[in-house]
Amino acid sequence: MTEAQIYGICGAGLVGIGLYGAILGRSALRRLLAFNLMGSGVFLVFGAIARRGGIVDGTLSDPVPQALVITGLVVAFAATALAVALLIRLAAVDREEAPPSAEPGSADAPSVATTPSAGSPSAGTSP
């Protein structure tokens, strides 16, 4: 096996793992991670193709796929940053709109008194 084949198969495996994680991830953030895994798998397959092209002409690697991968990595990062910002915004909106009539946990009822003071430094019970 050449290194192009080794990393090409590795990339193929990453696409499979990423696909699985993107469908069945435990949380939105994890699905985002899985999506990135999938992307880097595709890039690795492309890298394997670049390496094969380079060997033919006696260089290390074909520069055209390399350039495309660099462009892709930067765009993938920008997309991830946007997705993360959306997740954080979503979490904030969720908190604001948390239904005030949520099921009161009767066991937790005494904690009502401490909750408003949570922001003030005088909430004394040290851990």
């Binding site: 937790d108 009502v112 019970t125």
Partner: protein
Amino acid sequence: MDLADGFTAIFVSLGAFFFFAGWVGLVRFPDSLSRLHALSKADNLGLGLVIIGLMPQASWPFGMLKLVALWLLGVLIGGATAQMLAGAIHLDDGREPPGGNGDFARRTSEAGRNNEPGAAH
């Protein structure tokens, strides 16, 4: 045999040994802080010795300059992050009952503590 090559062989081997030692420590040591100690050995001695060993092979002046810069970076970053991680471990310890330091145990212990202020009230 070249003197420079012998120098390189000795120091690079020593560096590789310290990476190995750091790995053994990271995996085998019983608690977090001693594992951090093992990591610092690999960070400082392992990388440092490899860099010293590679000095005779490097091009003058920029190759050598980069190696020196790398070593300085390694020492600075390794030291600072070890300090930060040790702080994080202490913070972790401060709110965690001894023995239960697994992910699951921590979550359950947090969930347990969640009610504490209320209960004390």
